[in-house]
């Protein structure tokens, strides 16, 4: 039954299209010159039907439930809701709905059964009403669109305007969603800072986000000094970049200048595949292969290596970032005009000298942009660190020690049943906010560098 309005809409749109097409064609065969091609007259009708009617259907479906619920509650026998809080009233509504859906638990009161039957009727009425309204509005719009068909009617411009409007709408939706997310994040963060002073969060060195469950529990107050958490992310990201940047750059340089064409044709797609490996797979790789290997190796040297070291997590993250950096650097190197290569070679530079003295410096801004984007990916990366890094926040920069990361803490803070008003949960939003600010700043910076660099050679 929910499908019916959509089917009607589709049919109406197609009918409108066909009617206008035929009408326009008739005018043309009648000897007049159409301003717009006949297809645009058809499209005009199609869009004119689809856009408003689809909006109508979606809005209807969105508000239907609430309205029916209100009618239902007001139709309940007098007195049954007296003295109940809004939570209890919601519960009754839910019970009636589940009875209407055929899921009856125990033996509900008679008035609930009656209400359930009424609910079913209301819903049916609403569906039929929707079908009727959709049909009527569609017909009206088809008629209107048909009445506009004329030799001089500017159907193409109309279609373009409507399409443009749709595109603007989509863009606006994306932007507003982002703004909404930021707003929610900010809101929760502010709430957190009302409970925990911002200075403690930013400068405190003790991170123990446990909150006593019972009043009398001794498990302390919970400490929210985020410095060790940030430090953990920094250590892991640094390890990752120490691996990814040199290897990625050398790969790019080799592929770009020295690799024979055939090898390049093989390696480039392989790197791109590597970039598409889900991070959870890298996480497995980190715990199952890299971490044990590191541990064994460390023990053979007599070093004390934790089982979930920053080195393992960061190292695997570095491997994940290699294709990212190398493809960025490769693009940057390829964007250096051929004339500069030729200029250097014609002076008697070797390919190595040309790469080192001319191509690489010219490509540096692009490369730096790529590295910065890699940094923001490294600090935002979640799955690998959740799997391979530790949970306990430690004030250490030793990569052989177990450290935690911002994303790991966000995940653990939000796991499990926690109310949204205790500092433990809110701390996750504050951490998320910090992460967001950091990546935003880095990305803006990176994109600006990349763009500036593009301007030089276009």
């Amino acid at each position: 039954m929910t499908l019916a309005p959509f089917v009607i809409l589709l049919l109406a749109a197609l009918v409108g299209y066909a009617i206008n097409l035929r009408a326009a064609r008739a005018i043309r065969y009648g000897g007049s010159r159409l301003h717009s091609l006949q297809g645009f007259h058809g499209l005009f009708s199609l869009l004119l039907v689809i856009v408003p009617v689809l909006t109508l259907i979606l809005v209807w479906l969105a508000v239907e439930g609430g309205i029916i619920n209100r009618i239902l509650l007001s139709s309940l026998p007098d007195g049954v809701l007296d003295g109940l809080g809004s939570g209890a009233i919601q519960l009754i509504g839910a019970e009636i709905r589940s009875i209407a859906g055929g899921r009856v638990f125990g033996t509900p009161e008679d008035w609930k059964l009656e209400a359930a039957e009424r609910l079913i009727t209301y819903r049916e009425i609403s569906s039929w009403l929707l079908v009727g309204v959709v049909g009527a509005v569609s017909l009206g719009l088809i008629y209107f669109a048909r009445s506009r068909v004329a030799a001089e009617f500017r159907a193409r411009q109309r279609v373009e305007t409507i399409t443009l409007g749709l595109m603007v709408f989509c863009a606006v939706v994306a932007i507003f969603t982002t703004i909404g997310i930021i707003a929610a994040l900010t809101f929760e963060t502010i709430k957190f800072f009302q409970l925990v002073p911002i200075t403690e969060f930013l400068f405190g060195t003790n991170w123990e986000p446990q909150i006593p469950i019972r009043e009398d529990q001794i498990a302390a107050e919970g400490a929210f000094g985020a410095v060790p958490v940030f430090l953990g992310t920094i250590v892991i990201a640094t390890v990752a970049l120490f691996i990814a940047v040199p290897i990625g750059l050398l790969t790019a340089i080799y592929l770009n200048e020295f690799a024979p064409g055939r090898l390049r044709k093989i390696v480039k797609p392989v790197l791109e595949i590597l970039a598409g490996v889900p991070t959870v797979v890298y996480g497995f790789f980190a715990i199952l292969v890299v971490a044990p290997a590191l541990r064994q190796f460390g023990e053979s040297l007599g070093l004390d290596v934790a089982s979930n070291t920053a080195l393992a997590a960061g190292g695997v993250m570095g491997i994940m970032l290699i294709p990212f950096i190398s493809s960025f650097a490769d693009d940057a190197l390829s964007a250096v005009p051929r004339s500069l290569r030729d200029g250097a070679l014609a002076l008697g530079a070797t390919r190595g000298e040309m790469m080192l003295n001319v191509l690489f410096p010219a490509a540096i801004p692009g490369i730096v942009g790529g590295v910065l984007l890699a940094v923001s990916r490294a600090i935002g990366e979640t799955m690998i660190v959740v799997m391979a890094a530790g949970l306990i926040a430690k004030m250490t920069i030793n990569p052989l020690d177990s450290v935690t990361a911002v994303t790991v803490q966000i995940v653990t803070l939000l796991i499990g049943d926690t109310a949204f008003d205790n500092p433990k949960t809110l701390a996750a939003f504050a951490l998320g906010m910090m992460l967001f600010i950091a990546t935003l700043v880095i990305n803006v910076f990176a994109l600006r560098i990349v763009r500036k660099y593009r301007e030089i050679y276009d």
């Binding site: 004339s339 500069l340 030729d342 200029g343 070679l345 014609a346 410096p361 030089i456």
Partner: protein
């Protein structure tokens, strides 16, 4: 010095600097140059003219082995510089290019300072042992390229900030700085306005005193103005080669005549 004796404007008496015999060039399976023989004389400006796509640039790039950098390109035949086969496996193209400099169609200064642009060649070839020597080479080269006066106060500013004509003269200075024996120029004025073109043409005439200059041009007036020898290429063949004055006044081949009178090209 040897050079000094050769600066007299006696056109027939110059020694042969580069000699090409039976040169064929292929791009994959397409032959771009067919059996070309040419003698490039010292202290002479030799112009390559011909309709576009006839292979002038391709042949020019054979003379400093820049074609080596194009994967699909294959060069056969014999090209000699001072009687030494430049395609001999013993010859290092890197050293050859220091001796046979090149200036390109579009000015291509490196995104470095003016000073560094000119100093780059001498640096990689170790031509200067200290900063003072390097400074001297840079100044001399910029003077030779007739851009010293414009550039001397802004040596540390990027070469890319100069005007098109200045950039091209900077590129000439850069090429001259490695002390080459032959200077190849591929349509060096085609991206320049008439005034800059006139400056570069004047410069080319001066460069002849020290180098053997080969210039590709699509402008016949330019060939007539700057060159002593002219080679006319057509469809990959060298149709006619001789004194510029003779090519333009009394061409032997009908194709040359049609081209210079504007019927083909």
């Amino acid at each position: 010095m040897n050079d000094m004796r050769l600066t007299e404007r006696n056109m027939t008496d110059h020694k042969i600097k580069m000699q090409a015999r039976g040169v064929d060039v292929f791009y994959g399976h397409d032959q771009a140059i067919k059996n070309v023989d040419v003698d490039i004389e010292d202290n002479t400006v030799t112009a390559f003219i011909g309709p576009s796509g006839c292979g002038k640039s391709t042949f020019l790039r054979c003379l400093n082995r820049m074609n080596d950098t194009i994967d699909v390109c294959r060069v056969t035949g014999d090209i000699r510089l001072d009687d030494e086969d430049i395609y001999d496996p013993q010859v290092d193209p890197v050293q050859l290019r220091a001796k046979v400099g090149m200036v390109f169609q579009k000015p291509n200064p490196f995104p470095k300072s003016i000073y560094d642009n000119v100093a780059y060649g001498p640096k990689i070839h170790g031509l200067a042992t200290n900063k003072a020597e390097l400074d001297e080479i840079v100044e001399k080269s910029l003077r030779r390229a007739a851009i010293w006066d414009e550039a001397k106060d802004r040596l540390d500013q990027p070469g890319t900030g100069l005007s098109g004509g200045q950039q091209q003269r900077l590129c000439i200075a850069r090429a001259v700085a490695t002390n080459p024996e032959v200077l190849l120029m591929d349509e060096p004025c085609s991206a320049l306005d008439p005034i800059a073109t006139a400056q570069v043409e004047e410069l080319i005439d001066e460069l002849r005193e020290r180098f053997s200059v080969v210039i590709v041009t699509h402008s016949m007036q330019q060939a007539a103005r700057v060159s002593q020898k002219t080679a006319f290429f057509h469809l990959g063949e060298l149709v006619e080669y001789g004194e510029t004055s003779q090519i333009f006044t009394n061409p032997q081949d009908t194709r040359t005549e049609s081209y210079i009178t504007g019927r083909i090209g």
